[in-house]
């Protein structure tokens, strides 16, 4: 029983460790449709789970799986949409 509990705890910890949320500061967004273009590009990036973008704050909060994406892939996806970004 103890073994099962320990395994399940380890399993849940490893699941949690696979997801990370980062805030990216985005440069070049000038209108609401810019947020749409960035969101579209991030959505097509493997491992991205959730995106929240704010034009007034010029920020994106991205939740992603660390085994499939990292900050560089996210920044590159934003670049691909025509904007620049850096980790806050």
């Amino acid at each position: 029983m103890k073994k099962i509990l320990l395994l399940s705890l380890l399993f849940s910890l490893s699941l949690q460790a696979k997801e990370q949320s980062v805030t990216l500061k985005i440069d070049g967004m000038t209108c609401p449709l810019c947020t749409m273009a960035i969101k579209k590009s991030l959505k097509s990036t493997k491992g991205v789970k959730k995106i929240k973008i704010s034009l007034p704050k010029k920020r994106a909060v991205v939740l992603f799986e660390t085994t499939q994406a990292n900050t560089t892939t996210l920044i590159n996806a934003i670049k691909k949409a025509g904007y620049s970004a850096e980790l806050e």
Binding site: T30, P32, L33, M36, I53, S54
Partner: protein, 375 residues
């Protein structure tokens, strides 16, 4: 449905919007013939999920001497709505909101619009321009830059190069208008009316090169914004006017068309024009972007007599198979959306939480706009 509420509110709006002078007073054409259009908007807001909330802001026309909203009615299944002009540019807005649910999100808006062709006589403009009167305080906002309309740096240098030693306001306008018409083209690959981002359009650094060789592609917002930026930098209050074409142009099919019965589907017919201000003459209509549209659609060169005729006509007039909504740039709608500022308000604007609906794509938004001219 909240039909009763809408009818009450609709009446109020017509009252608010009909406070301008009687139609035709501002046109210098004697007894201008009016045109009437019934315009229908049908919205069914779309989103990836079934269960979602939605917010919609739709631009409504202003009423003034050359265009009048004679009737406005709307209906739908929204949970909340208002009609307001609570923004920096007094842009008339119909706002509707749906709470999170799996029901269809529907809105139908109907407008009856009467227009007359708008012309300010050249004699009047020239006479006023010579007086060199001061720009009134409430007009000075249209000399200021916005995020998309720079008036300093290379744009200021370009304005100075174009106007040369001219001191007369109308002479300056004519030079800027002619330069824009000769140095721009309609780029059919640009989505919608374009962003109107002048800073991005004019990216070169050398003013003499731009003055001689600059050739900028875009659609109506891009080209009207370029004209606006250069004219403002030259000291002429200027603004874009966002609106939508309603039907047939008597000048060219390139500038508006309808079927034999006067019907047209106009979902993607949004069109941005421009106005410049000369104290003593007021706001004067112009449309540098339509020169390039005529050239592209009819396959005409700049020196073609038909292009030259429109060039001459559109420095001080508009054919009114179109209705104007507002002059707003880079501003905040009311109630405040998640995403702002909005760079222009010629299209419906919608959000599902922080997601922006693609207003350039009526089918994914979803909306359909039709117009029926009443003969």
């Amino acid at each position: 449905m909240q039909r009763r509420n809408f009818i009450e509110k609709s009446s109020l709006l017509v009252g608010l919007m009909a406070t301008a002078p009687v139609l035709g007073f501002a046109s210098d054409i004697k007894n201008p013939k009016s045109r009437k259009f019934i315009v229908n908007y049908n919205f069914e807001i779309k989103h990836d999920s079934k269960n979602f909330p939605a917010k919609l802001w739709n631009p409504l026309p202003f009423t003034t001497a050359y265009q009048k909203v004679k009737l406005l009615r709307f209906d739908g299944n929204y949970d909340n709505y208002n009609i307001n002009s609570k923004n920096d540019y007094d842009a008339n807005t119909l706002f509707a909101e749906w709470k999170k649910s799996d029901k269809k999100k529907l809105l139908h808006l109907q407008l009856e619009i009467e227009t007359v062709d708008r012309t300010v006589s050249l004699e009047k403009i020239k006479r006023a321009s010579k007086l060199n009167l001061a720009t009134p305080q409430n007009i000075q906002i249209y000399l200021e830059p916005t995020a998309h309309i720079p008036t300093t740096g290379i744009i200021k240098q370009l304005a100075d190069r174009i106007i040369g030693d001219s001191t007369d306001s109308f002479e300056k306008v004519k030079k800027v208008y002619l330069w824009c018409a000769q140095h721009t083209f309609r780029d059919k690959n640009v989505i919608g009316c374009g962003k109107g981002d002048v800073g991005k359009m004019v990216s070169e650094k050398e003013v003499e090169y731009i003055y001689k060789n600059g050739y900028y592609g875009g659609k109506c917002t891009d080209l009207s914004s370029l004209f606006t930026a250069i004219a403002r930098a030259a000291g002429i209050p200027t603004r874009e006017v966002f609106g939508i074409r309603l039907g047939k142009s008597h000048f060219s099919k390139a500038l508006g068309k309808s079927d034999a019965k006067g019907f047209a589907t106009i979902s993607s017919w949004q069109h941005c024009r421009a106005e410049y201000y000369i104290a003593g003459a007021g706001w004067i209509p112009t449309d540098p972007a339509d020169i390039t549209k005529l050239e592209l659609v009819e396959g005409l060169k700049f020196n073609d007599p038909k292009v030259q005729k429109l060039l001459e006509k559109y420095i001080n007039s508009w054919e009114m198979n179109w209705v104007g909504f507002n002059h707003a740039r880079d501003f905040k709608l009311f109630p405040q959306p998640e995403q702002y500022p909005l760079n222009m308000f010629g299209y419906p604007y919608g959000e599902v939480e922080d997601n922006v609906l693609n207003y350039y794509d009526p089918k994914s938004f979803e909306y359909k706009i039709t117009s029926q001219e009443i003969f």
